[in-house]
Each structure stands twice: as structure tokens, then as C-alpha cells.
């Protein structure tokens, strides 16, 4: 499509597409006489969903940067984080609600991280000399195995996690100029902001973080500098598991966690990561937010049941026209960064 446009238009194509998209959204919204309140509602819904996608996408990015593989078990980490937290929260009844929830969250993150580390040592490390394709297929297998084990452990029953504010299933509702917000949304945004700060500190100030970045820029070079790439792969899987678990835990009170919740969330996180170019954290966050907002806007003005279709349509569009992400400069390629 782009090559038919005059060259001076090239750098604006992204914006033109976005403007066309927003125009069609407003046009479609006219049918139901949607006003600013509705669009605000869709956007806030999208921001909340998008933040979860962003957290999951950052897990994809962490593993891809260090090992060059796409870890399809990421969705299983999301599910495990939620399910482990629910289980601990339901069983540690000797504690009052607030500390119990806190303990459950810590246990959920630590437990999922341990499973992530174990998974890397048991399934990825032994095959570290195999091609990336083989490793990716292994992660698909890991996902199926973890979900199958979760079905045995938790059955197909839906569970509940209390909302962080009220410590009950029913969450506090906040109404702002006709827009309905849940208190949990602020926990989701706050947690993600905190995670971003911690990640920033980790990558800029700590030795391990710098070593991870070195691996991401050039694995061979990093190895020559004495960085153990296999150890960094382990760290990356642990981090990805923790990020996934945090995403699963903060979203758990807004949904009813089941053993199969990881599939759709994992795939949406993958779409967000692809939109961000798979290698950049800001890209992943932007990709997640954009995905959330666009799918909610599109679903809002057409049919709500088409939400997932829009998300995956977006994936196809991005892969076709912006294969290196919405933020990437044109000449920069993933291959160039991954020797």
C-alpha cells in the first residue's frame, strides 16, 4: 500500500491510518448516538485491559531479548500467578483479610517465578543448542502441559480473588462524569507504573540488568565479555514469569480466574509485544495500551462480541505494515539486533 503513496506522505502514513480509524469509529458511533461519555468509557476500559496486556507483553520482550525465542508459556504464567494467589488466599484463613491477601500475592509471584525458573532448566536449557524454532515449539508444549496440570490441580471451576480495595468480591465503583471506573483499575495502573520504575532501575543500575541488556544487544559479544548467556536465559524466564504473575494477580479480581484464562491473555500480550516490536519495553507498554484502547473502541461502536477479532486483526495489520513494531525506525530490523 505504502509504495503507491508519494514519498513525502510516507512518514505520515501511520498518522493517516490512525485518523481514518478514529473517523470511522466516530462515524459508526453516530448510529447509537454515542457521545464523549461513551468514548471515555471505552478508552478507560481499554486503558485497563491494555495495562494488563502491557505487563504480559513485557514478559515476552524479556525472554525474546535475551534468548531470541518467543515464549508462548507466558500465558500460563499469568494463569499460575492468579491461581496460586487464589489458592493461598483461600487456604490461609487464620490471617485477617488484608495480610492474607498480601501473603497470597507474594506467594503467587514467588511461586510462579520458581515455576518459570524450573521450566527454563527442565525444558529450555537442555535444548539450548537447538534452533529457535525448536525452542518456540517447546514453549508451546510447556504452555499445554502447564494448563493441563492446572486443570488437574484446580479443575475447570472459576475462582474469586477479593478486590484489593474492599477486600471483598464486590469492588468499589467510582463514577466520574458518567464514566464507571472500578477501584481495582487504579491498583492495576499503579502496579504497572511501579513495575516500570523497578525495571528501569534494574536495567540501568544493577549488574545483572546491564548483563541482560548486553545479551539483548549482542549475545556473542556478551559471552566474550564473560557473561553467562545460559544464566541470563534463566534470569529472563524468572522475570517473565514474575511479570506474567503480576499481570494475572492484578486482573484476577476483575474476572473469575479459571485454569484456561492464560490462553487469551497470553495471546493478547503477544499481540501487544509484536506491536511494540518485540525488543522494547516502552514499545510493549505502548503496544498494550494501544491494543486495549483500539479493541474496546472498535468493539464499542460495532459489536462487543467482535473484540477479540479486532485484536487479532490488528496483529495481522501490524505484521504486514509494521513488522518491527509501531515505534521502530524503518531501517532497523530485529535481525540486526540479534546476530
Amino acid at each position: 500500500m505504502n509504495r503507491f503513496l508519494p514519498p513525502w506522505l510516507h512518514r505520515w502514513t501511520g498518522l493517516i491510518w490512525l485518523a481514518l480509524l478514529l473517523a470511522s469509529v466516530v462515524l459508526l458511533g453516530q448510529r447509537s448516538q454515542y457521545g464523549p461519555t461513551q468514548y471515555m468509557q471505552f478508552t478507560m476500559d481499554g486503558l485497563r485491559a491494555g495495562t494488563i496486556y502491557a505487563l504480559i507483553a513485557m514478559g515476552f520482550v524479556t525472554v525474546f531479548n535475551v534468548t531470541g525465542i518467543i515464549n508462548f508459556a507466558q500465558g500460563a504464567f499469568v494463569m499460575l500467578g492468579a491461581m496460586l494467589t487464589v489458592t493461598v488466599n483461600n487456604s490461609a484463613t487464620f490471617l485477617p483479610p488484608a495480610p492474607r491477601l498480601l501473603l497470597a500475592i507474594v506467594a503467587g509471584i514467588v511461586g510462579t517465578t520458581l515455576i518459570g525458573l524450573l521450566l527454563e532448566r527442565m525444558t529450555i536449557y537442555p535444548a539450548r543448542h537447538a534452533s529457535p524454532l525448536t525452542l518456540i515449539i517447546i514453549t508451546v508444549g510447556d504452555f499445554i502441559a502447564l494448563q493441563g496440570l492446572a486443570l488437574i490441580a484446580w479443575t475447570a471451576k472459576p475462582y474469586t480473588l477479593p478486590a484489593f480495595t474492599t477486600l471483598q468480591i464486590a469492588d468499589k465503583t467510582i463514577r466520574l462524569a458518567g464514566v464507571v471506573l472500578k477501584a481495582q483499575s487504579f491498583w492495576i495502573w499503579g502496579t504497572t507504573a511501579l513495575v516500570l520504575l523497578v525495571l528501569g532501575y534494574f536495567f540501568e543500575r544493577t549488574m545483572t540488568g546491564k548483563a541482560l541488556r548486553a545479551c539483548a544487544i549482542n549475545r556473542l559479544g556478551a559471552r566474550l565479555m564473560g557473561i553467562s548467556v545460559s544464566r541470563m536465559s534463566l534470569v529472563a524466564f524468572g522475570m517473565a514469569a514474575a511479570l506474567g504473575a503480576i499481570g494475572g494477580i492484578v486482573v484476577a479480581p476483575t474476572t473469575r480466574p479459571t485454569y484456561d484464562m492464560g490462553l487469551v491473555l497470553g495471546l493478547k500480550g503477544f499481540v501487544a509485544a509484536i506491536m511494540g516490536g518485540l525488543v522494547s519495553y516502552p514499545g510493549a507498554v505502548l503496544g498494550g495500551l494501544l491494543l486495549g484502547i483500539l479493541e474496546n473502541l472498535a468493539a464499542g461502536v460495532t459489536k462487543a462480541g467482535l473484540k477479540d477479532m479486532f485484536a487479532f486483526l490488528l496483529l495481522i495489520i501490524v505484521l504486514l505494515y509494521r513488522p518491527h513494531g509501531i515505534l521502530a525506525a524503518r531501517q532497523e530490523t530485529v535481525e540486526a539486533r540479534q546476530p
Binding site: 447509537s32 471505552f42 475447570a156 468480591i169 474476572t255 473469575r256 479459571t258 487469551v264 462480541g305
Partner: protein, 434 residues
Amino acid sequence: MPRRILVLFAMLAAIALLLAACKPAPTAEPVQEPPQPPAATEEEEMEEPTEEAAKEGETYYIGFASAITGPGSSLGEPERNTAEMIAAQLNEQGGVVGPDGVRHKVEVIIYDTESNPDTAVSVVRRLIEEDEVQVVVAGSLSGNSLAIVPVVSEAQVPYISMASARAIIQDTETGETRFWAFKTPQENLHSAKWQAKYLKAKGISKVCHLFENTGYGKDTNNQAKAAFGPEGIEIVYEDTFERSDTEFGAQMAGVQASGCQAVVVGAIPPGASTVTVALRDFVPDLPVIHGHGTCNMAFIELAGGAAEGVVSPCGRLMAVDTLPADDPQKPVLEKYIADYSAFTEGEPISTFGGHAWDAMMWAVEALASLPDGMDLDEQRAAIRDYIESNIRNWPGTGGIFNITPDDHLGLTFEALTFVKVENGAWVYFPESAW
């Protein structure tokens, strides 16, 4: 490069092997043999003067298969428990006594369909061909049951399904009744008729219909359209949602913009619960009406308070304590609840177990009607004929059944009753209180 491809193939082969190993051929879960030796049974019989001298005929077999594992396990487990309970009761009674006074032991052979149509078909084949059962009670999910129907029809074995789709007992295109297939659960059309009745009584003519994006949800939508139109109720807005959805702003904007007077939901928990939470946030003044897929405690628990005031048509099993005393089903329901709670040591009651109870009791009653000395094919045909012509005015957990050659379910919409969520429980909601 060839080595890499080799490794890849090796990995794939390993995964395939692993998957094959993880899915062992379904093994029988034989029902516990009676703990006492046969001598004890004879003694017991001799103590009962009403029974004729112990003339023992061949053992009858009921083939049972439900979704004990897999996504349908919340249905299949209570069904399995119910089948085990009935098997234990039959053991205690020493089986059934035929019209000619010959006593037959009855064994229930239980398999797991793993919620998977392929497995369901293979275990049912096994029940028919290897275990040579007289009657098959199987299929917790509509998809599994629909896959079983051709197998039993070909083998000419009476089949009772525990799933709700009409297509199990009737070819939906030709309207022809499936000769060998019966079922016990109520249908979405029954729910929709109740909903229409309620809406009409409330003077509501414009409704929104929200349904989950599954086969079940779509069926509730189709049946709502079929039942609401003749009553002058218009569906002004309809949309779907996913069971795992966390945001409902899109659907809620549609509901608000459509100006409907009530929202009808076609879903099961957890989707039914999360959408109810959203409805209470966005449109707290609109009445919310669910279908019988929500008739369990999980719906109320998962909705965390938002379920309060929700109304729904439901099987009588969930509101037995608040039913009027003259309800003809009440004794059956109370006995089932007492028996099930005692047998499972306090597992929660579910309507699915009730569907299994109805199906198993038809099978047992039909077996008791067989005279001694028939061969297997004759027995199977006789059981089918018995169920078709003798399950009349038959109070079960699902309703008062009246099976006819044209209707292999035999329930009207009044098999369901109308209930409301009050103080975190389903209570009977009679028309006089509407």
C-alpha cells in the same frame, strides 16, 4: 542443517509420544463390589418373607459415561456421584426383581468422556460392544451427546442423555424424533418461555439480550427470539461477551443507548456473574433476568452481592426448601438431596446430578420391567419401548415427565419454576409475588 531438521522431528515425535502417553485408553472405573460376600445377601433375602425364593437371573448392566474430567467436569462429577450412589443403592437392594419374580443384579459400568466427543464415542462403543450393556446413560455436554447419538442408533441401544440440546432427541431439520435417544434436562426454550411470561406480566416490551459467545449462549438467544416474538416482546439490542471478559463498557453502552426496559442474560458462571456485576454498575435500575444455566450457588458466590434481586427460571431442585408443600416433585427432590448429601458426605447439590438421577431411574425402572430369558437385542428394544410408553406423569428432579413417541423429553416449560436471589440464595418466586 539436516541435523537441525532431525532434531526438530525428534522433538515433535517426542511431543507426539508424550501426548499419546498422556491420553491413555479410558479405563473402566468399576463400581465398588458389594463388601459383603454373596452368602450374606442370600441371608438377607431369606429374612424378607415378601420376596419369593431367591431365583437369580442374569446380571443387568447399565453403561454410564459422563465428563468426569475436562472442561465439563463441574457437570460430570455430580453426575458420576449420582450414578455411584444409585449403584450402591441397587447393590443394597440386591438388584431389581422382574415381573416374573426373577431377581437380577444390576451393575453400573462407569467411564469418563473427558468432555471430549471422540472419547465419548469410543467409551460408548466399548460399553455397547465389549461390556454388552442393556442401556446407555451418557453425555454431560450437548456436543458429546450429539456425537453419541449415531453410535447408539446404529447399534440399536436405548440411550438417555444428560445434556440439554433439543437436537439430541430430535432431528432439528426434519423434526423427526430420534428413535433410540432420550434426554432428561430442560431446555433453553423452556427458560425463554418463562422469561417471556415474566416480562409480559411486568409490562415490559423492549428488552436487551446479552449472551455468552458459546453454543449455549447462542441457543439461549435463538430460543429467546422464538419465545419473545409471539408475546409482543422486542429484542432491541443483542450482543455477546466472552466468559473471560474483564471489560463490559461496550455492551453497557449498547444497553444504555437502546432504551430497553430489562436485560435478559443467556450465560453460565463465571460469565453470567461478571456481566451481572457490570449491569449493576451501569444500569442499576433495569431488572436482570437470567436463564436456567445460572441455577447454582456458584453464580451467586461469583457475583459477590451483585446477584441480589436477579430473577431466573430454574429447576425446582435449587429452591426446594421454599417450594409449596403440595408440589408433586417435592418428595422426590427432598429424597434425592438427602441421599446425595449422605452418599457424598456433603458435596453441594447440583441440577446436573439430578439429571443423572432421572436418567438412571428410568433405566432401572425399565430393567425391572424385563421378563427373564430375553436375549440382549430383545432386552434393548424392550427397554426403549418401556421408556417411551411408561414414563408418564413421572415425577423426577427435572420435572413431571410425560414421554411420548413424539417427545423423548416429555417436559413443558412448567418443569422449571421461577426463582429470585434473596440474601445470597435462590428462593421460590411465585407468580402472585411478581
